[in-house]
Symmetry: C2
Subunit: 657 residues, 2 copies
């Protein structure tokens, strides 16, 4: 049977698919989530995908033979001009050659769930945006020398002490009709006690803000009620810029080497954020022209490259010496100037960046975790495609950035996937039998072998756990190499002769193939953790310390990350286990804090300047340190706390204590 | 021969035209200026007009018979989709029924010239917008913690003492490339010492601003060099809102009674102003994406209704009791938010309005003429479609508004026209022979009868003069009625038996017909001048004064207005002739002053609130006063200064001294 290569974006899942199979079947066999509500009846139109490459193979150019079957009548009913070019229904397009397929966010089945839970923050409520109720007397003829605008300003001054307010022009255009619609009762939304950014009829109390964290790989938005501080909804998605490059440097290259490359990526992320906005407000009152009109404030964090691309600033100069960003200060930009579909008069507050690639996201971590208020020496690791580190205490805090790659987020891992239902998130391996137990997102219990649980792949936390467990069980050694003489069928060689560990047999999965951990997966994780370890070590050297009092693990999946597994892998130097904390998405927490308390914005600007940025890659010992840090947990460093832990767990692996 | 009625907009010129004549021939016979560069060879495509009504007559609806001849192949070559519907070449479309035709500004021949001359203003230069040269050191690797933005801010603070500057987002997007293009030499344009609104490569000195006066009938823009205060160019045009209503009230009605009526008129004036912008910058350096990119500041004045429509604010409530404007305060609005094609980051400074229909244009007059700094009791008349009055001195100043109609601007006058070449602007009539002498715009000398001077009609100042002269020569009496038993062929009856005075015989004109002053023209002028007189009289009553120390005549054609003729007509109560001043476009002068000196903006806001607005139309004596003021110069009031003047001039007319 003839087979063709199929690549799905943005997940990067790829494989050989039999000729004639539909793209939906191909996706299912590769563990790619595509919505197919109608169960392949070709009526729901939900499974739209975009053919990105391979419509025609070079060899077949002249004959015009397509790599996918021709458009069917069923498809024509569902595909609209606004869908853009290359759109097909995955259930209907058959594979007849190599293709690259992009699965739009709307067509992806199963919501990413890990970032759903936003932790409670304890912070004084003092938001930048507030609503003030206005109760005017209807004007009479003798009032004629006073305009609507002036009457509102006078009420806000007399009633609330707000002076010298300005009025956003777009908001002003609604004023007359709204005052009359509400019979002279209205609500003014005021930004920073300076500018009126909305007028609504009647008395409105609840005020919404959105805290946004744009990661290289994933984006999340927390909809917050600014009067209570509560997160009322959270939505996330893959960063739609992934097709233009999986890491920061490749996106900078894309911007530099493609005409309109920057504009293309800026549009992609703005469109993506607008989709998050549309979804996140789905359950609250609609009262404006745009879906997100109820949102009156927005704070946003991202790394420096994502920051530049989001703002349409040329990222070229941050990617090459002397690494100069366009702007480091915080910015307040009108939503309408960025094309964001919230209240068009609202401001987008862009948190400041530190330096180099240490961006506003790290400033978010900084103001959420406040190392500058601690006596203990704390290492904060923000795990993502670009890892950022903070080390210090109230006397001094340093920051650094290291390129970990997207392995921690499940990308570039053979069976890696988003933290969505079907993803293996927790793993234990019996050190004697080498048999695993695992938990799948969406199921409460440990999986009993051979029970059909519809596993599809591993999310980031699952990958970290399985590699740590493989090390503890002796399946891989300190250097990450597979131990091949074990008495188990789970360690085997693949068709190309490369070793792999079978975590789930095909029968347990929904994708019809064994889910395995390959030598390549282990290597990807070693590179990622080695980069973090090296960063931490070089920072400790810079600060002249040899011991960490505390380690804080932050990141997209931070609240799920297994701190024992992280310590076992050697993601950071040894530390007492109960001094290791997984705090979840601290960058997002910082964005939320800046949303809820405007003093935090000032704090962010001050501390972003105060933190000392360290360039790690230029350290002369970098390469040697990195090579040693690739080992599990490390080639030379001792891990007294980890040694005790492994002994307690009954692991036969011996490490330097 | 069959004839059809043709109406040309925005001039309002109308007449019967023989069937089969082209629209260009019709326009020429009615004195409507249409550009026809190719001399009717149908090749230049300059004479585009829009058929507004009468493509089909109701009776002919079914037969589909058009009122104009079918579109020719010649026309199809010139008419583009972006021209919009109904566009024809005037040279090619033949008249076969009643039609209403709009002549777009671009197709109008002959520039309006009267407002060209902007008088010298003596005012200290302290503009809201300034350019600062920046000379940075190229960044090196150790500078990496400083972004481009921060380096510019630091230079502006150290070099010029500018602190806490913000950076407009759109301007910021250019920063990186411009700094590098100019090899770290650049120029920052700063608004109000608060915000950077432009970055240009290299050292730029000259800075442009535009002062705009939007009248009900005409619009003008003065391009000023903010470093010298000089006006470098002036452009004007008919207000493109004229087709939607010739006066303020009819435009308010249009906005209320048509879906998207407000939006349509706002778009028309924004498009029109963009055309003024494009024309006014034609001779200065282009250096940006939009034609007007070199303009970094814009001040604008208009009456309250034009103000609301320009800003997209509902004008409904200013048109009915209790006459509440949306906003009276001055506003600063980003050019991009209004769609004006100057520097998109620049602010449009909208001067404050006073009250009712007394708008920002009167505030312009106020700060240009400064009655609040005078000891003498001064009456300031701003003549336009809506007349505005100021009366007072340093102790107290009152303002009022009166609807004069567009007669003073040459509209609704049978042979009225814009102040363009061919317009009669000055007239003398021999009191004995009743023979006139006149001057045509574009010719220096008095016209000798029967010399072909290509007269086309009368502009506003010509109309005022001819009616005053007709009164002095005894052709019309105090009540405005024609005296029919004079020994002259110039006073005659038209086809409908209505009296008229022949100012120019057909042989002297370029339109092939006699140019006459009709009884209707005289009535229109009486209504207009009566409204002004009544306003002034009621204000004097309010202030308890009986005598004017000084009269200032302002307006579109103010610098050309004949003060003797104005006094003769009784546009205002009696005053010494050498205490009457014609100051030209004082509203525009005020806009220019606010452009050149930011202190004038504060003065405008303070004085706009300080001036007392008087509602004239509600005065119980209004109707009686108005009826008496319709007489020339007045039914009852005495005019001692005018009496002397008329006696000196040898007029046989006797008035109350």
């Amino acid at each position: 049977m003839k087979k063709h290569k199929v690549i799905f974006q943005p997940s990067g899942r790829r494989g050989e698919v039999e000729e004639g199979k539909t793209l939906l079947e191909a996706a299912q066999s590769l563990g790619v989530d595509i919505e197919a509500l109608c169960g392949n009846k070709k009526v729901c139109g939900k499974c739209k995908v975009r053919i990105e490459e391979g419509y025609f193979e070079k060899d077949n150019m002249e004959s015009g033979m397509a790599h996918v079957s021709p458009l069917t009548e069923d498809e024509k009913k569902h595909i609209k001009p606004e869908d853009g070019p290359g759109i097909r229904l995955a259930c209907s397009a058959g594979v007849y050659g190599a293709v690259k397929v992009f699965v739009p966010e709307r067509s992806r089945a199963g919501k990413q769930i890990v970032r759903k839970t936003a932790k409670e923050l304890t912070i004084a409520l003092d938001p930048a945006v507030r609503k003030y109720n206005i109760d005017l007397v209807a004007p009479k003829l003798h009032d004629m020398t006073t305009g609507d605008y002036e009457r509102v300003l006078k009420f806000l001054e007399n009633g609330y002490g707000l002076k010298n307010l300005t009025f956003d022009y777009v908001a002003l255009k609604d004023l007359q009709n709204i005052l009359r619609k509400g019979e002279w009762k209205a609500t003014a939304t005021v930004w920073m006690d300076r500018e009126i950014i909305k007028i609504e009829p009647g008395f409105v109390e609840v005020c919404y803000g959105l805290a946004v964290d744009i990661g290289t790989t994933t984006c999340v938005g927390y909809l917050s009620d600014l009067s209570t501080g509560r997160v009322v909804n959270t939505e996330s998605m893959m960063n739609p810029q992934v097709p233009y490059g999986e890491d920061v440097m490749s996106r900078i290259t894309y911007a530099m080497s493609n005409p309109n490359g920057l504009e293309t990526m800026q549009n992609a992320i703005i469109t993506g954020l607008n989709e998050i906005i549309e979804r996140v407000v789905s359950e609250i009152r609609k009262d404006g022209p745009d879906p997100g009109y109820a949102i009156d404030d927005l704070t946003i964090v991202f790394n420096t490259a994502m920051h530049h691309i989001f703002l349409g600033l040329n990222p070229e100069y941050i990617g090459r010496s002397p690494f100069i960003p366009a702007v480091q200060n915080s910015l307040n930009i009108k939503a309408r100037d960025l094309g964001l579909k919230i209240n068009p008069s609202a401001y987008i507050h862009v948190l400041p960046i530190e330096a180099g690639f240490v961006g506003a996201d790290n400033v978010g971590v900084l103001i959420a975790e406040e190392p500058y208020n601690q006596d203990e020496m704390v290492l904060i690791i923000d795990i993502g495609t670009n890892g950022e580190l903070l080390l210090g205490n109230r006397n001094r805090v340093c920051s650094a950035s290291c390129a970990t790659g997207p392995a921690f987020e499940g990308a570039q891992i053979k069976f890696g996937m988003r933290a969505a239902p079907g993803a293996i998130e927790t793993v234990r391996i019996d050190p004697v039998t080498k048999e695993p137990l695992y938990k799948v997102i969406g199921k409460a219990d440990w999986h009993t072998h051979l029970e059909k649980v519809n596993a599809k792949g591993l999310c980031g936390s699952g990958i970290i756990e399985v590699v740590a467990e493989m090390f503890k069980a002796g399946i891989i050694d300190k250097s990450g190499r597979f131990v091949m003489d074990l008495n188990t069928t789970r360690v085997r060689k693949d068709a190309d002769g490369r070793p792999e560990y079978v975590l789930a047999w095909a029968e347990e999965t929904s994708i019809g193939t064994d889910i395995t951990i390959t030598q390549g997966d282990v290597r990807a994780l070693q590179l990622a953790k080695g980069a973090l370890y090296t960063g931490a070590k070089l920072m400790m050297k810079k600060l002249g310390i040899t011991k960490l009092d505390r380690v804080i693990l932050a990141g997209a999946f931070g609240s799920h990350i297994n701190k024992e597994a992280s310590l076992t892998l050697g993601m950071f130097p040894d530390c007492e286990l109960d001094k290791i904390y997984a705090v979840g998405n601290a960058a997002g927490d910082g964005a939320r804090m800046a949303l809820l308390n405007k003093g935090k914005r000032i704090e962010a600007s001050e501390k972003a300047r105060w933190v000392e940025f360290i360039e790690i890659a230029t350290d002369p010992t970098f390469e040697k340190e990195f090579m040693q840090a690739m080992h599990i947990p490390h080639m030379k460093d001792s891990f007294p706390n980890l040694k005790v832990l492994l002994e307690k767990a009954g692991s036969s692996v011996s490490i330097k204590g």
